[in-house]
Amino acid sequence: MSQKTAEQYEESLRKMNFRIFLLGEKVTNPVDHPVIRPSMNSVKMTYALAQDPAHEDLMTAVSHLSGKKVNRFCHLHQSTEDLVKKVKMQRLLGQQTGSCFQRCVGMDAINAVDSVTFEMDQKLGTGYHKRFSDFLGMMQEEDWTVDGAMTDPKGDRSLPPSRQADPDLYVHVVDKNERGIVVRGAKAHQTGAVNSHWILVMPTMAMKKEDAEYALSFAAPADAEGITYIYGRQSCDTRKLEGGAIDVGNARFGGHEALMVFEDLFVPWDYVFMCGEVEYSGLLVERFAGYHRQSYGGCKAGVGDVLIGAAALAAEFNGAAQASHIKDKLIEMTHLNETLYACGIACSAEGYKTASGTYLINLLLANVCKQNVTRFPYEIARLAEDIAGGLMVTLASEKDLKHPQIGALVEKYFKGVASVSTESRCRILRLIENLTLGTAAVGYRTESMHGAGSPQAQRVMIARQGNLEHKKKLARAIAGLKE
């Protein structure tokens, strides 16, 4: 097959047998569930655009394994051009969905696991890379969406995994036999989990010798027996249950996160890619995080494009578009947004080849990229709210707008410029609300802060990669220091 159509993707999800709980109920049909469906549509777009000649140059790549054209989300980066195109693809998808399209975690996970298993095998004589390559071959052939799962619940942050009061607060091996391993624990904040075909689990942090049972990487079908998903709430999520299309802000697309719980999940050895090699757990985390920090330079810029466009339209609909301070705020939003993108492109262009042949981003620039992402979307959102005006949070409901008795009042008093309908004005203001404090704010704001690692994690990497000694040497030479 090697590439699924959007329809084939949706059908493939219908055949899966997830165990999902949402708002206290077991979900029997996640694909059509009104809360979940918009997030599925976002992932579906990654398949649809790959089939579109106007976008396939970014959305597809040629597999180094099979020589076939594959979805870029299933591809290992073979050049800096691949890394750049990845960021451009992510910007495109952010623009097209106005939300998190969820498939990046899997792409970032396969690229990290590939190079780390290769290097691990070279040093330790293990046989993980061949297993991983076989898995990757299947992923590419079936065009799977894979959820890269890294973050453990972590319990008491002052204690290592092996000293937690409850050992399941980090994913760990509880049994091994000749066929495989048995796993217990959970992964938190799992983006796109219930829209995925497979999961690719990685350790959550660098481990020490005593934490060997937690140094674990494996793949499993996302609907395997022993996996339960507890769907995360989002601000304003129950608006999706009201049946309208205006108050949700973005009726077609969204994102999601879930808690993924492993209750004695059995994993055959063929799908185990790390099991106890503590010295490589930190490297895997560093590389996955690096790729994911690069990703945000694309996706957040794409969503930012939508928010900037919405703010500009809100200003037009308010009759304020010609005000100089509005123009200046839109310039500032664009400057911030393009700075995010610039860092994503820069860390890609400065990427390099690893021992396995897969290209890695420049880690310093990727961390700088993500550090900016922890700040700039907040400022862009603040400026969007400034331009939109208070109405974005005090607006009457869609039901009131369409009410037979009071609808005319809503229509009359929420009108902006005469040439634009009240409904259009409401739609744009609701979109801004959605992105800045509604369901999409999960992806655009808080995920910008904590996704791919919280701000301090980037600062640790920036300190490590910053080459301060070189800078001191430069200053000594310029100042003419002799000591």
Binding site: P53, A54, E56, E81, K85, K88, L92, G302
Partner: protein, 98 residues
């Protein structure tokens, strides 16, 4: 020139309406002349590369073999010559048939 090759960039931040431009070009093509995305039908006498911005990231050296003559549209430029968006289709026609 019955068959003209066609390739798009990925369209991450286009400064021109790439699909709108394609429609304008199609309208101006003489009868019997068609555009194709199918690279298996190459090499062609001529081909269009429609990129949304001056970076033209889809302009891959590997494309050279697919056509004797590539006409590169990169944002509001045809073959690196700045061209207003509403004049690009005409400029392409001139390059194709002059």
């Amino acid at each position: 020139m019955a068959l003209i090759g066609l390739k798009f960039c990925g369209g991450c931040n286009p400064q021109i309406d790439r699909l709108g431009l394609l429609e304008e070009i199609k309208k101006r093509l003489p009868p019997g002349c068609h555009l194709t995305l199918d690279q298996e039908t190459g090499p062609w006498e001529a081909a269009l590369l429609i990129c949304g911005c001056p970076t033209a990231c889809a302009d891959d050296p590997k494309l050279e073999a697919l056509s004797r003559c590539w006409i590169r549209i990169s944002g509001a430029m045809v073959e690196r010559e700045t061209t207003p968006e509403n004049k690009i289709a005409e400029a392409v026609m001139r390059k194709l048939f002059s």
